[in-house]
Every structure is written in structure tokens, then in C-alpha cells.
Symmetry: D2
Subunit: 330 residues, 4 copies
């Protein structure tokens, strides 16, 4: 199949590369001309702007938008909606809020344009490992795009089959190959959102565990109860046969192997929309999400020197007990 | 009654003063001679050391220990146990771990010495407002000490009676006057421990609320959804007729009135044993204590620049997504 | 002043009563004719429908809407907007989401109608104690309505003044009397939202503390470390001189005095929008709100028999350890 | 090597089997004679009681205790200490509290008996996959036991090597083969404890995520924002190339494949000591552990119909707002 890609960052570029490696063709556009040139070198057709890109695609056209979620993606899709024709398809592969997908799909439908939302996991490893994809949209349209999704997905690889699952029973075989038609518009990004929410929780669980190990030789402890652990070796050991093996643990082990002090990291941790939206979805559904929330808040807190709330605490403590907090950590 | 007081800090000194104001007498000792002198000026009998103190008391003697919980209190009680006679009473008014009370009471009983644990709330305000006391120990002994507890307690004051409570029905009237015989040894400190655990939770609830108000004009928000709130006026308003009126809110309001920025506080917040032991008690009982734990952890976090856990998070994020966190807050 | 009140439930009816007691007049409407009749008996002018209500008010008219937040309030304000004239004022005294206030105010402004949002705390006690009010809207309009707010507010009462606050210094004296012009449209409901968010946190802190006390005689504990506490007396004691005195504690004490087992309550706990929106505001601002979230989730959980998440846990435990969970609590 | 095994449950029996498969010999004892017989059939030497077991071992003897942590293990080790000679070794392979290890090791050392604590992960899968082991004790003793640990460990298997780790550099190669000498006495169980603490957090993160997916078609949501997700297919998809792949996810997928409703599970979830001790260690070190605590509390809560705390909440709500909660879920 032929695809048009708008946005050639870390994700967009490699998606095009993986498609071309699998026999698909692509026309590509990015504001950054060098990004376009790099892909042209790899075999893509370069475009000077969006209109040019659309001219280089054969109808019905498939345009994959791989840009930062929010106004940039929104604006691009608005632009596209004015240029596309009935039967064309827009794929939003970014991290869009799923309610925006519902709104957009409804609005594009009026113009006969199809809209497919794809949540993509795999990060910088996707080019080699393949992309795990969660897809929302009309059944027929998702089916029509299958050659693309199939090429991008990791495939069965050497992942051991799930006991009891046999796709020859008539089960949808796409999940076994690493992609999913999750439901109507927004469903793809919803499932990807939850994926990231879980990711935050998993990461924070490891982070707290390693933190307790690291502080096991704290001077606040009695001398005979202190340990000076080798975190690198602990992580390595847990990779083998333990209950908590995971890809995230593999990555943690690699980082600790490079530098057990993780001296290159300040401890300032960003978060993105999905972790936040996950909490909002939980609240909308009245589902308790203590762990996923705490994981998000740990990131918020990591980015502040102190909160105003902490000053409130000290002020109360002085008020009722005359406590004067020590000067801050030097 | 006559009492011997060991430890003349903020709490011990004022307890003696309040007792003397109510017609009791006291012999006092502290390592710091000036603390002793100050109380002597106020009418107490000064002692040069613990043995001297005991000589100045008429048997059966009552010795109130008001020292930092832990080794200092423990050592003092060991010393006392070697000097006291059957029938004497030790009161531990500090913030002792309740399981230590159980152990000590059992051990002192073998020597005929009685042990009473008193959890005391009221802080620097106790001299004027009276001390709210939670008491553990033998029924008869606690009764014998009633003149002391009654004098220290705040009394009914102008606190409105609880609807439906009428102590003339045969109810214990001590709670209405602000003190409680909570149960056998350790019960006083157990109840005080939970009091402080709740205190942490209440404080953190206010802290988070004011934090959200404070950040309502964050530049991360759309301009038309920002507010620049006057926290001082908000706190003052809530003191009148709202559901969240409390003494802690009164103290917060006073602090915000002095300085709405709370510029004198760094945001470094100490915690003491009771908050921690509350969580341990919850875990022993398998009672979920999400709020009390989160309140404790917020204090732990306030005292660190960054946690090692946060670096673990950044290392993972770089591992799977190539994310490089921005340099830390300047 | 004259006011029109739509919605004569627990809150609306008593607001009208308190206004009339203070010399104001009111025309009133409710779908429930009996509610109207009851107020007419108390001196209000009854109306048969909204149009009738508006006819009975002298321009510029002030209409206070006191209805359940959401579609009912929204629909009523839409209806009013078609009937009111330039210069009229709508007050929304319900628990509206603050972003809806911003939207409505902007839209009503185009028709020359003023919009004031009032968050009201005080519940069933407001008639006697007065209502603590947090107000958003245009400065001049809020000022014009001052006779109403001043009459509804609790006033200084016997609340002790905040040290350091002297309204004769030129400070706004309204907070000292229990009401606040918090800022432009939405600010009133925003502050009320945070008030309720804090309320959830405070309540949960008490709830967890009493839960630990209640379970201190759990059979899972060693016999010599169990206590059988009198929660009623503990609560009563804490009302006097302790750090955790509050109105919520007063209410808890009253309930425990009626029945220490709280046998009339199932433990199923509702939540309303404010607690949820508080978390969303925290997330928008990237403010960690661990305690306020945990308090909300405890309510969510209280309303479920079991979560699906808990079944997931059991399924994993069986998967890796062969653990079979006991049959559920009988 | 020759080993004596006390305790032939799920873990103990399979450990013996895996050792014998690798050329080691074993004498075995269990209170349950059938468990002994089963192992004898597999090639072990059966013993009638502990004394008999010790007679069947050649000095210096190695006795592995694989019993429920707590009084049973403690009592067995006390018995052994009276029967063993200088130079003999006790291995505690159960889930013992690490501070108990420190105490025991000190006490056994006085008798010349060595003590090794081994935390073992791998559960019912260990016989085939091997056991991930975290070991505490004297360096030389752990080394002497290496043939045993090496046989039990999973080995490198087909786990991809950690980039940057090359054991030929002089690194300890045991972690790469799935076992670890973590440090002196207690270190093994400490690291295993943290392993389980992390496990709780990971499990709860998945549980909450699937719970939100499951409730995405809740009737509380607007119709056009509901999804009816296929959790089995979602889990399967995430196993391939996503960031959250893990063994726990594999197990979850298998369970959902068997029954997407997980109808065999009530949702009542046990917890064991390690999850609790992890929190206590965090508190001792003043490390915030929000996620690991929340994961533990979710299990506590799962085992109650309602908490007393929830009744406290309802009582307050009625107190200030007249709210009457609906009857409980039918």
C-alpha cells in the first residue's frame, strides 16, 4: 500500500522505514526539510508541504499524522479535512485524547473522510521490534488498512503462545501478532491511554522498590540493620525466573549496569497526557485508581523544589507545637 | 497532690505551672539548671538530680517523666526503677511507643511500682487551654491521680455539649472535661498515636487544598481559566460556618494572615514516631490507611531533594522512549 | 432587597427563610407545589412557574437558582436567559462545575445579563448558623448583592478573631463575616470545590483513625496487644483541647454517642462532583494530591462489592504461586 | 552435594526434585508421610523425624528448612540448633522476616552453626524454570553451597544479556545465572521482601488498568463515550512489543483467555508478610512508598465487606448535610 506520513520525528520516520522494508511505499512531509531528505535517501517520496504530499498520493488516500498531540495535530487534521476527498482516510498515530477522536471522527464523517486512531507503543525500539498498536475506527476501514498494520506490528516473534489461545478457533489473530482493533473511534487511544497509565504504575513500583534498597544503608538505621546492596546485581538476578521480570526491568538493569548511581539523571520526571487522562477516566467511571494516581503524583512532585502545601504543614506545626523546621537540605 | 517532674521543656515546665496554679505542689528536675531555676521562681521545689528529687517527695511518690521518647526516657525510667519503692507511680507523659509501655508496666509491676502512660495533646497552648490527655494504666492508680489530671485538663470550657451525651446518666465524665482513661498500659499512648496519625491526615488535606488554590494561576493553564486567589481571605471565610472549620484551620489562617507567601518556611517537614507507628498499627490490623500513609510520605518526600526512585523513572523513560528529561528546576 | 428563588429544597428553602428573617422579601418557585406553599406560609410570594416568578420581581431582577448541578440547573438558566432583560442578575448557588460558570457568564454577558456563582457551605445547619459563601462574578454586581450575602452569612459570631487580622486596616471585612468575593466568574465555585475536596480528605483521615481504633481488638493481634476502646469517649475527649478538634469531629462524636456501632449506616458512601473536580484541577495544575485522591477512591471502593481489579490480582496469584484465595467473607 | 530438606510442600518438594535432577542427593522429612513417600519414589532418602534426618546426612551437614515463616520455622530452627554440630549449615528458604535472620545468625554462630537465608521466587514454575534466589550469609559459606544454588537457579537460559554487562570483566556471574549473594545475614530475605513489595505494586497497576477498561461501558457514562472492550485481546496485544510486557501480564492474559469474566475468583485477595514488611522498611528509612502501600491496602480492603471508617463517613455526611446514603448494593 501507499501511505502519506506527516511528521517525521523519532516515531514517524521509523514507521515509514519499517513500512518500506516491508514493501510499502510512502510520501512524506515534515516542517524540517532535513527529516524529509533523510527519508528520501531511504526511499520515500519527499513533499514540500501538505498539499504537495496529497498530490503525490493515489486516491483513495491514506494520510498518517504522527505529530505531538494537541493543537499541532488538531490544526493539521483541520487542514487535511479541507483538502481530502470522500473515501480518503486520516490516521492519527499520536497520543491524542480519545474524546477528541470521537469528536473528529463524527465531524470528518460528514465530509466522507474516514478517521482511524492508533495508539502506538514501542518507542525507539519499534523499528526493530515492531510497533504494538491499538486501533479505533470503522471495522471496514481498519480492515482495509490491514497490510500497513500487519507490516508495522511485531508479529508473533519468539513470544511464547498464551496457553489456551488458539486463533484457529476463529479468534481474531491480530492480537497474537501485536495489534488490535479495539473498537469504534477513540477506542485505540483509550486502550493506549490505559497502557500508559499502567506503565506509570509499573515504573513507580520498581522505583520505590529500588529506592528502599538504595536507602537500606541509611544512617538513620541501627548499624547492625544496614545493608549496602549492589542494585545492578539485584536487578540482573530478578531478570531470571523471578515473578517481576519485565521489559521495564530489563531497561532498568541496563541503566544500572551503565552507572549504578544513575548520575546522569537529575530525578526530574516529565509526564504526558495519557497518565493524567487515565485518572480522569477512572474518576468518570468511579473506579478506585490509587496506584496509578500515586504514580502520576510522584512525577508532579519530582518537578518541584517544594510545594506550597509543605509550607502550610510547617506553618501549622509551628502554630500548635512551636516546632521550627530545620533549615532545608543544604 | 504533690508531683515530681523530670524534664522541664516546653511541655514539662508548663504542666508544672498549670498544676501549681491549681493548688498542687511540685518538685522539679532538669539537666538544664536554668530550667529548674525558672520553675523555682514560679513556686516549685528544685532538685539537683533524680535522687534529690525523690528525696523531696513524700511517699507514695508520683514522678512524671516528660522527656523525648526513646533512649532518654527509657534510661530515666530504668534509673527510677532502681530508686523507687513499692507503691510509687511513674507517669510517662512523652510520646512513647505503646508497646514499650506494655513491656515497662509488666516489668515495673514486679517491683510493685505502678506505671501510667499519658498521651498529651495541646502543645504550646496547653498552659492556657489545658491539656487533652489520653491515659493508660491500672484503673485504681489512674483514679488516684485524678486530682492531677483534672487540674491539667481543659475542662468543659465553652465547648458546646455533644447532643445526646449526658454524663448524669452515669457516663464517665472525664472525656467531657478533656481527659480519658483509655484502657490498660499502652492504651493512652495508642490513642495519642492515632490522634497524631489523624492530625497528619488533616494537615495534608488542608495542605493539598491550599496548594491547588495557590497554583490556580499557573502558567500551564489556559489564561481564561486562571485565578489569583487571596488565600488569607479564603481561609478566614472558611472559619465561619463552613464544614471544614477546625483549630488547624485557625492556625493556618493565622499563618497566612502574617504572610500569605509563608516565606519563612522552607517546606522541609519533620515527622515524629506517632505518624509512623499509626501506619504500622494499621498494617498489623490489616486496616487500609491510604490517607494517613500518604500524609506521612508527603513529609518524607519534602525532606529530599530528589529520590533515587525518580532517577530510576528517568532512566526507564530514556530506555524505552529516548526521552531526555530537562535539566532540573534552576 | 427582593429576590426570586428557584428550587426550594433543603438549601433553597432555608436561604429564603434566613433572608426573610433579615428583612428581605422573596418570590419563590419549585416544581413541588407543597414546597412553594410552605414558603408562602412563612411569608414568601409564591409563583406558579418561572415566568410567573419573573413577573413578581421588580427590575432589575435577582434570580437565585438553587437546583441540582448539571442538566437541571443548565436548563433552568437557559430558560431564564430567554426571559430576563439587560441588567438582571442570575445567581447559581448550586454545586456547578466552575468551567460551566465561565462559559455561562460569557454567554449571558452578550445579553446584558449578569451571572454570579455562589458556593455555599453550611448544609442543614445554615438556617441557624448562617451560610459560608464563596462568590464569583463582577465586582460591582457582587457589591450590589451585598445586603443578601451579608444577611445569609454567619457573621463574626463567637468565632475568635484571627491574631494579626484587623479589618479596620482596610482589609475586606467580608471574610470575617463568613463570605468572600473570590474572583471573577467561576471563582466562587472553584473555592467551594476545593473546600469540598479538603472536606473529603479530613473525613477520610478521621475515618481511618477510628477504623484503626476499632480494630485494635482484632483477633489477628497477639492477645496482650489488644485494646477494646470506647470510641465515643475518645471522640469526646479529642473535642477538648486536642490538636484535631473540628466541627467534623463534633459531628462524629454526636453520631458515636447515639450509637457507638454506627449500626444505621451500611458503609456505602456517595460522592459528589466537587471531590472529583478537585482532583481534575490538581492534575491540570500538576499539583500532587495524594490525600484528596485517596479520600475520593475510598468512597468509590465503598460502593462496590468487589472490583474487577481484585479478581485480576487473584488470577495472577494463582498463576504464579498456585494460590487459591479462600471463599469470600461469609 | 548432599542436602537435608525439612518441609516438602509445593516449594520444598520441587527444590529437592530439581537438585536430584542435577546430580545432587537428598534426605527429606515432612510431617506428612505421604509427602516423604512421594519424594522417596523420586529418589530421595526418607526420614522419620528430624533426628533421623540428621543421622542420614554426612557432616558437615546442610539442612534446608522450607516451612511457613513464623513460629513453625522458628521452632524447627530451635530444634535443629540443639542437634547440629559446629560446621553444620542451616538454610532458611522460607519467607522469614529479615530481622529474624539477623537474630538467628548471631545466636547460631555462638554454637558454630552457620545460617544462610534464601529468598526464593519462582513459585510453582520453579521446577521447570528454575528458582530465582536471593541469598544472605557468610561469604565462604554461600560459596561452599554454590553447587546447590547453581543447580536450582534458572541459568542464563534464553534471556537476552543486559547490554554493557560482561561477566568476563570479573563481575560476579551468579546474577546472570539467576541467583545473588546479596550480603550478610538477612540480606537475602530483605531483597526478596522488596521483590514481593514491587510485585504487589506491579500487580495492582495492571489490576487498576484492567478495571478501568472493564468499566468503560459503565452506565454512568454518556452513551457515546462507552466502549465494550475485549480484555483478552487487549492483554494479548500488549504482550507483543509494548512497554508493559512482563511475566505477570503473560499470566493475566492466560487467565483472561480461560475466562474473560474471571468468574472463578471472588476478589478476596490475601497478602503475606513481605508486602507489609516492605512498608515498614520504607518507613524506617523514611522513603516515600505510595504505590507499594496503596497496593497493600487494596488487598486489605478486598477482604472486608465494609470498613468501620466508611460508616464514619456516612455518619458525618448525615450530620452536616442530612445525606442519607442509599441502601447498600443489592
Amino acid at each position: 500500500m501507499q501511505i502519506g506520513m506527516i511528521g517525521l520525528g523519532r516515531m514517524g520516520g521509523n514507521i515509514v522505514r519499517r513500512l518500506m522494508r516491508n514493501g510499502h511505499t510512502a510520501a512524506v512531509y515534515d516542517r524540517d526539510e532535513r527529516a524529509v531528505s533523510a527519508l528520501v535517501t531511504d526511499g520515500a517520496v519527499g513533499a514540500a508541504d501538505i498539499e504537495d504530499l496529497l498530490r503525490k498520493l493515489t486516491p483513495p488516500r491514506v494520510v498518517w499524522v504522527m505529530l505531538p498531540a494537541g493543537p499541532i495535530t488538531e490544526g493539521t487534521i483541520e487542514t487535511l479535512s479541507g483538502l481530502l476527498s470522500a473515501g480518503d482516510i486520516i490516521i492519527d498515530g499520536g497520543n491524542t485524547f480519545w474524546k477528541d477522536d470521537i469528536r473528529r471522527a463524527r465531524w470528518l464523517k460528514q465530509r466522507g473522510v474516514h478517521y482511524v486512531d492508533v495508539g502506538t507503543s514501542g518507542g525507539v525500539w519499534g523499528l526493530e521490534r515492531g510497533y504494538c498498536m491499538m486501533i479505533g475506527g470503522e471495522k471496514e476501514i481498519v480492515k482495509r488498512l490491514d497490510p500497513i498494520f500487519s507490516a508495522l506490528a511485531p508479529g508473533e516473534g519468539d513470544i511464547s503462545p498464551t496457553p489456551g489461545r488458539d486463533d484457529r478457533d476463529g479468534r481474531d489473530s491480530r492480537p497474537t501478532r501485536g495489534y488490535l482493533h479495539a473498537g469504534p473511534s477513540g477506542a485505540g487511544h483509550f486502550v493506549k491511554m490505559i497502557h500508559n497509565g499502567i506503565e506509570y504504575g509499573l515504573m513507580q513500583a520498581y522505583a520505590e522498590g529500588f529506592d528502599i534498597l538504595k536507602n537500606a544503608n541509611s544512617e538513620a538505621l541501627p548499624k547492625e540493620e544496614r545493608y549496602n546492596f549492589d542494585l545492578t546485581d539485584i536487578a540482573e538476578t530478578w531478570r531470571r525466573g523471578s515473578v517481576i521480570t519485565s521489559w521495564l526491568l530489563d531497561l532498568t538493569t541496563a541503566a544500572l549496569t551503565r552507572d549504578p548511581q544513575l548520575g546522569d539523571y537529575t530525578g526530574y520526571v516529565e509526564d504526558s497526557g495519557e497518565g493524567r487522562w487515565t485518572i480522569m477516566a477512572a474518576i468518570d467511571e468511579a473506579v478506585p485508581a490509587d496506584v496509578l494516581s500515586a504514580a502520576l503524583y510522584a512525577r508532579f512532585r519530582s518537578r518541584r523544589d517544594h510545594t506550597f502545601g509543605e509550607k502550610i504543614l510547617s506553618a501549622m506545626r509551628q502554630g500548635f507545637g512551636g516546632h521550627v523546621e530545620p533549615k532545608d537540605r543544604a
